[in-house]
């Protein structure tokens, strides 16, 4: 690793075009490409020599050589830049240098930026069921390609030249990307971490382009929010379950027979049962009607009328049952059991007033007896499911957003697990 003593600064003139060139990592770099004409000069020895002469027009880069910025808490200077391309497009790699830290990379792929470092101990990269395991993260294979150097300016610690080719494989574990590059017998692994545009803006005082697509290793905001919410989701669901269990345990489920009601031939002739005593302060009650109808129906109207005050709580239910035989065999429809939930009933003595309307296949009223019973103070479950739904609405929305984001992320990959291809 270079140190301050070896990382001296020196100015030279291009041996081809005469343009001034500042060597910012002298002693650490071995070649420099003239920012004006691209001519490559060997700077590994005191006597500088031309490696290859070019007469290229200087290429524009978003960040200039010599730009300094603080990335992940460490100051770096841009000493080199190259444009590379593959089947999927081109990108820029800036070589960063800090005499105390060494070399790092800043990669600009369209509107996405990454901070990269070469991995020295590649034995720590292990294959696993997903692809690779490195640094406690599982990486999935994302892309395979061939990268070609299109343009080079500035200093480098190896002799890079236009036309250099490498076979590349990318593995992702957002916001991380493992890049494998093979050039001849040389194998280089790099670890990239995705940089938020705000980090680039703060480091180099530039205005990054707005992101209009999803990068391979771009972190998903929905995933991060979901991760932050996880403990609150479980805590809320746990509390809801506790409240519900307390309700279930304290519910009395007291069975109170009301009586046998026989529908009258004419509507409006009600029967009065009771009184029944309901002793829970505010209770949910379930009134059940059981009968043995055959091809007929009964609509039952009820009123719980509180003794003394005359307060009335009205509700209704229907019982209908039909059966027969057709070409497909025997069939039946409906049920001989009907029930109604009667919510929020104060404690007290109540008369149960019943009226009905009924009919059979011929329109004649039914006179089949109906057994009425009431279960006092039952545990409601609807409120629990409503509370769970409210608690889970936002997490479910975030899961959907994550799905959409991940589908977009993988749409450019040959290893797309979503099996959809982004529309051209």
């Amino acid at each position: 690793m270079p140190n301050e003593k070896t990382a001296a600064t020196k100015s030279i003139n291009c041996l081809a075009c005469g343009a001034p060139i500042t060597l910012r990592a002298l002693g650490a770099s071995v070649m420099v490409a003239c920012p004006s004409c691209g001519t490559q000069i060997d700077v590994s020895k005191p006597e500088i020599q031309v490696i290859k002469k070019y007469n290229a027009t200087a290429r524009e880069f978003d960040l200039a050589l010599g730009s300094r910025g603080v990335l992940r808490g460490k100051p770096f200077e841009i000493i080199g830049a190259m444009v590379r391309s593959s089947e999927d497009g081109s990108w820029t790699e800036y070589l960063l240098f800090n005499p105390l830290i060494g070399f790092r990379w800043l990669v600009q792929d369209r509107s996405h930026w990454s901070f990269a470092q070469t991995i020295k101990d590649i034995s720590a990269i292990k294959p696993n069921y997903l692809g690779l395991h490195y640094d406690n993260r599982d990486f999935r294979k994302y892309a395979v390609g061939n990268a070609v150097v299109e343009s080079v300016i500035g200093e480098f610690y190896w002799r890079v030249k236009v036309g250099d080719k490498a076979e590349t494989i990318d593995y992702i574990a957002p916001p991380w990307l493992l890049s494998r590059e093979k050039t001849g017998a040389e194998l280089i692994w790099s670890l990239l971490v995705y940089l938020d545009p705000a980090e680039i803006q703060a480091a180099f005082k530039i205005q990054p382009q707005p992101r209009d697509d999803v990068a391979a290793h771009q972190p998903c905001a929905a995933t991060e929010t979901l991760s932050s919410l996880k403990r609150y989701i479980w805590a809320a669901l746990g509390l809801a379950l506790l409240l519900q269990m307390a309700t279930v345990i304290t519910a009395r489920n007291q069975q109170i027979p009301i009586g046998i009601y026989t529908p009258s031939a004419s509507h409006g002739q009600e029967a009065v049962f009771g009184p029944v005593h309901l002793d829970a302060t505010h209770s949910l009650n379930e009134l059940t009607a059981a009968t043995s109808l055959s091809n007929s129906w009964v609509d039952l109207d009820y009123a719980l009328v509180r003794k003394g005050t005359g307060e009335s709580y009205e509700f209704s239910n229907s019982v209908e049952f039909y059966s027969g035989v057709d070409s497909d065999g025997a069939w039946s429809e409906g049920s001989n059991l009907g029930s109604s939930l009667v919510p929020a009933i104060p404690a007290g003595d109540y008369d149960v007033v019943v009226d009905s309307a009924s009919g059979d296949a011929h329109g004649a009223p039914s006179q089949t007896p109906i057994q009425l019973s009431l279960t006092h103070n039952v545990a409601p479950w609807q409120n629990f499911w409503i509370a769970c739904a409210v608690i889970l609405i936002y997490p479910v929305f975030l899961i959907y957003r994550r799905f959409v984001f991940e589908r977009e992320r993988w749409s450019d990959s040959a290893f797309n697990p979503y099996h959809t291809k982004k529309e051209e």
Partner: protein, 54 residues
């Protein structure tokens, strides 16, 4: 974002408030024996006889 920043994330605060509302509803509704979508009930004063002829 710092842990403090995460703690102050408006989305998380809003979510916690929503959970509190849901749990508050569950507690109060269960205690009052209330359920939505149950048979419609109405309340009025009168006598036992003639409730369906008002």
């Amino acid at each position: 974002m710092s842990p403090l920043g995460q703690g102050l994330n408006p989305k998380i605060i809003l979510y916690i408030a929503t959970c509190c509302l849901a749990l508050g509803y569950l507690g109060v509704a269960n205690a009052r024996g209330f359920v939505p979508f149950a048979s419609p009930t109405s309340k009025y004063s009168g006598t036992t006889a003639g409730h369906f002829h008002k």
